[in-house]
Symmetry: C2
Subunit: 237 residues, 2 copies
């Protein structure tokens, strides 16, 4: 199974990942179920990382006050509130609905919080795979976020290792030889979005492989330092 | 060149598309340069659609007052302004920087405006390809947008035909048999983001093919009716 050309990518869902429990090693689950290749980007949904890291709390999801307290305990600021929906800033700096807490696809009576440091989670998976297989792969931890002015949710990167979070193409030129502007491309979010297309929400495919990503994008990186917009740049606080 | 499994996608850049001029037929440029297959989703960057539709205006891009007047003439509302950057609502209802007007990758002294009705542009390309080749393909017109709280830009859909803009998975169940919430997935934006990974900003690949998209997503659709968030739902106006 080879990439057809330098201009083609493959997106493959990894099948056979079992239900993840606290203490499981995500890197083991990946290498046991996927034939990785050098340079692959492996996208892992936040939910199995949170489960493996034991980020589960007991809660009655029907108790709206308990939900709200849990969301606020994971937040540094509530930006907007409408009914059950709270748009908050998490401790990581993500601005998202309900602090990224998952009440679905977790055992009844439990909720899954975001990993404490998703970049660190990604680095750990990356280095464990490197140690076990000698393969240099990149890892993106993905989660599902809404957007301010667009309906529907998309998957974005909340942690990454080994692939550019934002690729800075400033200083390069367009097809007509003029300097490119507005060209800091959020490669990690684009890869997370692409992966979602094969993972689906209801299927048991919490891991996908993106094969053929431009080698120029492979480098040390982090979502925290590259993607999270500092308050000084924020026009919509 | 076949998809490896029902759980895999291919993303292929279409090479050889020449510089596009007003009056060119995008459907001709696609069918002359790509081996399409039934069910493909073809992503076309806004810029070549705008050029083909003659949405070019003469402007001195260094004249900041002229730039601002042009941006405002394409807008119904300015949300924020900082230096040269204006976040506006376009006549279509998109909230984006500088009304989506392109000053790069167009001939010097010109700027490219967004298509007047990108969903209609997508439908036209789709039906012309269907008429010529009898192949049922979907079309997404993509453009590059910033995000409120995340650095870096990503490609999103500004027009589509033949593939769900937003796929509504409510009423379906998670892997544990519990109803899924927050599951209106913006498939069209995820596909546009995936396509950007092979198109690059500087390469001459304004068209990409996504092969293997779930057939359940193939239906009549539009960005205007499915993705643009109505003012009544907007928490950040």
């Amino acid at each position: 199974m080879a990439v057809d050309s330098p201009h083609g990518l493959q997106i493959l869902a990894v099948q056979g990942i079992p239900e993840v429990k606290p203490g499981d090693r995500i890197s083991d689950l990946i290498t046991s179920n996927a034939c990785l290749e050098e340079g692959d980007v492996v996208v892992v949904t936040q939910k199995i990382v949170s489960k493996a890291e034991g980020r589960l709390v007991n809660i009655n999801a029907e108790d709206l006050n308990a939900r709200r307290r849990l969301i606020e305990s994971e937040s540094v600021r509530v930006l907007r509130q409408r009914g059950e929906l709270q748009i908050v800033e998490t401790r990581h700096g993500f601005i998202c609905a309900n602090a990224g807490i998952d009440f679905s696809n977790v055992p009844a009576g439990q909720a899954a919080l975001l990993p404490i440091d998703p970049d660190r989670s990604a680095r750990r998976i990356r280095y464990e795979i490197l140690a076990r297989t000698s393969l240099n792969v990149a890892i993106i931890i993905s989660d599902t976020f809404g957007r301010t002015w667009r309906r529907g949710v998309v998957d974005v990167a909340i942690g990454c290792a080994g692939v550019a979070a934002v690729a800075d193409l400033r200083g390069t030129y367009d097809a007509l030889g003029r300097p490119l502007l507005a060209t800091e491309i959020c490669v990690a979010d684009e890869i997370a979005a692409a992966a979602e297309l094969v993972m689906g929400k209801a299927s048991r495919s919490p891991v996908a492989i993106i094969r053929g990503v431009d080698k120029a994008f492979m480098r040390e990186s982090s979502v925290a330092s590259e993607i999270i917009r500092p308050a000084s740049e924020d026009l919509f606080r």
